[in-house]
Amino acid sequence: MTINELERTATQVRRDIIRMVHGCQSGHPGGSLGATDIVTALYFDQMDIDPARFRMDGDGEDMFFLSNGHISPMLYSIMARRGYFPVSELATFRRLGTRLQGHPTPMEGLPGIRIASGSLGQGLSVAVGAAQAKRLNGDKHLVFVLMGDGEQEEGQIWEAAMYAPAKGVDNLVAIIDYNKKQIDGSTDDVMNLGDLRAKYESFGWNVIEVSGNNMQAVVNTLKFVRENAFQGKPQLILAHTVMGKGVDFMENNHKWHGSAPNDEQAASALSQLEETLGDY
């Protein structure tokens, strides 16, 4: 896909996010909007995947895990737009009986979801396990995992962060959605994360920083990590993003971490996001 096509896809994903969260009056729009570009680039351009024939084992393809499961609207929209399930199903988000649960789960049979997430700090470990399975199978594909920055406060992250370089898990690419916001405020105020780059590097990771809402930069970075895989070390992309990206009144405002827009706010948000692929 061209950069322009990816950007137009991301814009539609952002519309979907607003409409889904507005539709059920719950969910997490802020982080979803911020992480849209990097996950769009993964699913529509950079991952070797086969949405039409989803397999739980992920053998012979790249795998993606969403550790910060609360930004599920972003993932659901991208998966639907990519062909994992009908786009019309996005309208069922968070409604009784839906496969699109508030937080992702394989239990409702939604194609594309391999494990539950929502309770934070676990996705990196799951991804390390999946990456090791690929190594045992001689499968030369990559495992990607997206985490939140606030999520770095969970102790388990650092168990996995220590394990992966120690065991040379070099088919693993972790991504931190570094928007510097969490529910209670800025990460600096809630729990100063310090120098995340230095922390991961000292644990033995190769760390690449990227402007996470610049599609060209994101694509270049994803190409870079693929070229640099299988060299003995896991890789971390520190993706500098803007919470609420694309909707002016949501940008950089932690209040939109987990609140739904009202009718007026949703209309305002949608007026800023072109309908590029057709709404669901």
């Binding site: 992920g58 239990m107 539950a116 309770s119 676990q122 470990s125 991804a127 999946a130 090791q132 394990y163």
Partner: protein, 317 residues
């Protein structure tokens, strides 16, 4: 059942042999251990299958979720550490990524109960059966001796779905048949009787076996059933026995709250109300001591089972 003691062996060693055998039968069996390889007897597996053994260091949460991630690709991961660190410490990881996600992870939990001994209450988990049985999708297996633990481990590897496998530290009488096929969810009738049913699990099964001749001398003909699978509970076997004996004693190395007795009581209350006594830990933590001292101190020994039987038989009359 022949109650001849073949030898004295620890159930954890039964797990170790079972894991090795499961690994030989299925190349997809893998093992994770959080720095307790000799204690939980994973050393033979690690030696024979080094590429399938993952030393996680002292990081149990990471271990559980890595196992779940590896299970995605059709591997059959066993995680190994003490029962205390296999359950309470990692409850959320098990809940989200193993039980709710229904991944084929086998949680091998050693050193359960007070018979862990001198290390004391921090390590003597007595709540793990309850924690695990409450989780949807989770199967809970508590074998009674070395042979049964080995066979249960092989069965767990062949079973598709999350399994919690609980075993212990001390050497105890090994009496079940060497190669008896372990059927998950199928209660084991050890002694037929008519006056009372004793339902026991784990180390307390042998303590109940020792109670049988004592009861017989008192004129009480007891039925003994080994509930090696707490969940799914063999409700049919429980009811069949209780409809005959009309009174029940349960015996387990676990809290009353949430344990085997609790599961049996639920069946009785719903289907077949009758007098019942529980031999179990009564809402306290353990403490340091030898396994034998502790079983006596916490009233989990043969005389306690005998007393409970006398009491419940009297209540029936």
């Amino acid at each position: 059942m022949d109650f001849t003691i073949q030898n004295q062996k620890d159930t954890r060693s039964g797990f170790g042999e079972g894991l090795l055998e499961a690994g030989r039968r299925n190349p997809k069996v893998v093992a994770f251990c959080a720095d307790l390889t000799p204690s939980v007897k994973m050393g033979d597996f690690a030696k024979e299958f080094p590429e399938r053994f993952f030393q996680t260091g002292i990081a149990e949460a990471n271990m559980i979720d890595m196992a779940a991630g590896m299970a995605l690709s059709g591997f059959v991961p066993f995680t190994g550490t003490f029962a205390a660190f296999s359950t309470g410490r990692v409850y959320d990881q098990i809940r989200q990524c193993v039980a709710y996600s229904n991944k084929n992870v086998k949680i091998a939990a050693s050193h359960a109960g007070v018979t862990l001994g001198e290390d004391g209450a921090t390590h003597q988990i007595l709540e793990d059966i309850g924690l695990m049985k409450m989780l949807p999708n989770m199967t809970v297996v508590v074998p009674c001796d070395f042979n049964q633990t080995k066979n249960a481990t092989i069965a767990a590897a062949e079973y598709d779905g999350p399994v919690y496998l609980r075993f212990g530290r001390p050497k105890v009488p090994n009496f079940t048949p060497v190669d008896e096929k372990f059927v998950i969810g199928k209660a084991q009738l050890l002694q037929e009787g008519t006056d009372v049913t004793i339902f026991a699990c784990g180390h307390l099964v042998w303590k109940a076996v020792l109670a049988l001749p004592i009861l017989k001398m008192m004129g009480i003909n007891a039925e003994l059933i080994n509930i090696h699978t707490i969940k799914p509970l063999d409700v049919e076997a429980v009811l069949k026995s209780v409809r005959k004996t009309c009174c029940v004693v349960t015996a387990e190395e676990h809290q009353r709250n949430g344990g085997l007795g609790d599961s049996i009581a639920q069946v009785l209350a719903l289907h077949q109300p009758c007098p019942m006594e529980m031999v179990a830990i009564d809402d306290v933590f353990g403490q340091s001591g030898t396994p034998d001292e502790l079983l006596k101190f916490f009233h989990l020994d043969t005389p306690d089972i005998v007393e409970a039987v006398k009491k419940v038989v009297a209540r029936k009359q």
